[in-house]
């Protein structure tokens, strides 16, 4: 008699009484058989548990009932034990994903708190306190370093400073690591060509008369050469500078900030990389909205046709890693120092739309078949202004075959240079979108 057959029949309640006694006698005398029984029991329990864990996705249920034209029952995926059983099954099925999701959310919340909470950013808050918004001119070292880079359409301080020499006497050149807002600011009257915030007014020209929109960059470079000075260009081509700079939104009060500019929340994306097949297409649509920071930032320097959007192609590697190329149209707030045509130190602010190209590497923390898949993503890229680094934490929610919904928080930092100095600008975005598996 095959002992395994006896044990199996016993576990299936199909062993006759007399053979059951016989089996017990054997078990009593045989350690190996007892071990085999234990292994069978363990194996049976595991298979039963596995069977319990297998439930069709809600999307399948909805699809079936939709195709036959009936509304899906609310608890269709639950077994006969009702709602409580269904909830338990759901939790059991997605426990791993939920745990990872909670962990990811906590980390994300901590990062967000650090980035946006002014209590944790006292230095920034202190720099901003009591600083007049209107003052953009930096009266120091007038014409000192000889750099004359300018851009048409930049948010520009008053360029005509009456009694400038007396003003500059009060100031000394700022040390290199000093932030802009720590410097004393002048209270010079605004010129005719600027509004009260120092922005260039629509249809008007600067009092200096040396700058006209669209041609300033070229002319300034030429002028710098004529003076025999070292030319230092803004890493941002003149042709890209915003023609619609002087918009009403641009005239909002501008908060004085440090080199690192404002952060914004709320980006949107639709993307479509591959999940199962290896190669796929990403299509992203993004949007930004200002986060609650002290003082309103300036408005968009230009209103492009298709802003905050991106296109990308991704390759899935091993089910958990996604490598993709991204092309984005996005806005970055920029704030930097320069010297205008009159040799006055000024602080420029602009909020241009930039075209960024980058490579993104995404790692999912759970298997492809999980419904909730937390992930982290790092991106490196560049645009007309400079280099960009991004980090994102997010969750992917499987909506059915071929479709995932993404939700994450992404921090992007732009590094750009002007007049030999390097500046940074960061923004924080809520990242959401759809992912299509091709």
């Amino acid at each position: 008699m095959d002992y395994s057959q006896l044990i199996n029949d016993y576990l299936e309640n199909q062993l006759p009484r007399e053979q059951e006694d016989y089996l017990f006698d054997l078990l009593h005398d045989n350690d190996g058989l007892r071990a085999e029984l234990r292994e069978f029991i363990h194996q049976e329990a595991a298979m039963k548990s596995d069977a319990m864990s297998l439930t069709p996705s809600p999307a399948s249920t909805l699809s079936i009932f939709a195709q036959i034209g009936y509304p899906a029952p609310g608890s269709a995926t639950a077994t006969s034990a009702g709602l409580a059983s269904g909830v338990r099954q759901w939790i059991g099925r997605y426990a791993q994903g939920l745990k990872s999701g909670v962990f990811c959310s906590v980390i994300t919340a901590i990062v967000c708190l650090y980035l946006i909470n002014p209590w944790l950013n006292e230095g920034r808050a202190a720099r901003m306190a009591g600083t007049p918004n209107e003052q953009n001119a930096i009266a120091r070292n007038a014409g000192g370093d000889g750099s004359e880079a300018g851009t048409s359409g930049m948010n520009r301080a008053a360029t005509s400073l009456p009694a400038q020499s007396s003003v500059t006497e009060n100031f000394k050149p700022a040390p290199p690591d000093e932030t802009l807002t720590n410097r004393p600011l002048t209270n010079q009257p605004l010129s005719a060509g600027t509004d009260e915030n120092g922005s260039h007014a629509p249809g008007l020209r600067e009092v200096s008369g040396a700058i006209e929109q669209g041609s300033a960059f070229t002319r300034l470079e030429r002028r710098a050469e004529s003076f025999g000075r070292t030319e230092r260009k803004l890493l941002y081509p003149a042709g890209q500078i915003q023609p619609g700079f002087a918009t009403p939104s641009n005239q909002a009060p501008v908060s004085a900030q440090r080199n690192s500019s404002n952060r914004r929340l709320w980006s949107a994306e639709i993307e479509a990389p591959a999940a199962g097949s290896g190669i796929g297409l990403q299509v992203e649509l993004r949007g930004n909205r200002d986060w609650a920071i002290p003082g309103a930032p300036i408005g968009l320097s230009q209103e492009p046709f298709f802003s905050h959007s991106s296109l990308g192609v991704g390759i899935l590697i091993g089910g958990r890693n996604l490598l993709s190329l991204e092309l984005r149209r996005e806005n970055f707030f920029q704030e930097f120092e320069g010297v205008n045509v009159d040799g006055v130190d000024v602080r420029y602010r602009q909020y241009p739309s930039l075209l960024s190209l980058g490579v993104a590497a995404r790692h999912y923390f759970s298997r492809p078949e999980e419904m909730l898949r937390p992930f982290a993503q790092l991106s490196l890229g560049a645009n007309e202004a400079g280099g960009i680094g991004r980090a994102m934490l997010g969750l992917s929610l499987g909506l059915g075959r071929g479709y995932d919904m993404l939700l994450g928080i992404e921090n992007s930092t732009l590094l750009f240079g002007h007049d030999g100095r390097t500046y940074s600008s960061s923004k924080l975005g809520l990242h959401y979108g759809l992912l299509f598996h091709l």
Binding site: E39, Q43, D50, A51, T55, P56, T61, T79, Q96
Partner: protein, 186 residues
């Protein structure tokens, strides 16, 4: 007054499915509620891949609905399994994937006790590498709780053969998992 479909037998549900309107809908919903997890478990374990299993699962119930409208007699679960089985066989025929024992390093026992989740993964992989002739009766028996007679009818074999195949499948899995179970039980 509406009938409480949850109290109907499979045969009564079958009859109600042949009717029209809300009664048919209620009957189908009840059949779905009773058997969706069993059918899904069967398909997933036979196919071994969750993503195509979702498609086959949907197709199974859609075909069942269309066929049931014709007033077919017999066991509902058996009928559903038969539909699912045909779809699975077609799927496997179209997409031949062979997993060999060589690809699965189970001989080396784990040095440390494994987590339950890892054990379950190993169990699934052990089921996946079983030959279909053994795997299917095992799934029907353990996952779908069918009798050996029902298994025999579905697989087209004798009940005694079904019994032998289930036992052989269990022993094969045990031979794979035994080192790990021993480790877990220490």
């Amino acid at each position: 007054m509406a009938t409480d479909v949850s109290k109907l037998t499979d045969r009564q549900l079958q009859q109600q499915l042949s009717s029209k309107g809300d009664e048919s809908h209620a009957a189908f919903a009840e059949v779905y509620r009773r058997y969706n997890t069993r059918i899904f478990a069967y398909i997933v374990r036979v196919i071994g891949d969750r993503e195509p299993a979702e498609d086959l699962f949907q197709e199974t119930f859609l075909r069942f609905y269309r066929s049931a409208a014709g007033g077919r007699e017999g066991s509902l679960c058996g009928f559903l399994i038969t539909i699912a089985r045909n779809l699975c066989l077609n799927h496997k025929r179209d997409r031949k994937v062979t997993l060999t024992l060589d690809a699965f390093d189970f001989a080396e026992p784990q040095r440390f006790p494994m987590e339950d989740r890892e054990f379950m993964d190993l169990l699934r992989r052990a089921i996946d590498i079983l030959e279909i002739d053994l795997r299917e009766p095992l799934i029907l028996r353990v996952y779908n709780e069918l009798s050996y007679e029902e298994i025999a009818a579905i697989c087209g074999i004798a009940p005694a053969s079904a019994r032998v195949r289930v036992l052989r499948a269990k022993k094969k899995i045990r031979s794979i998992l035994s080192p790990i179970i021993k480790e877990l039980q220490r």
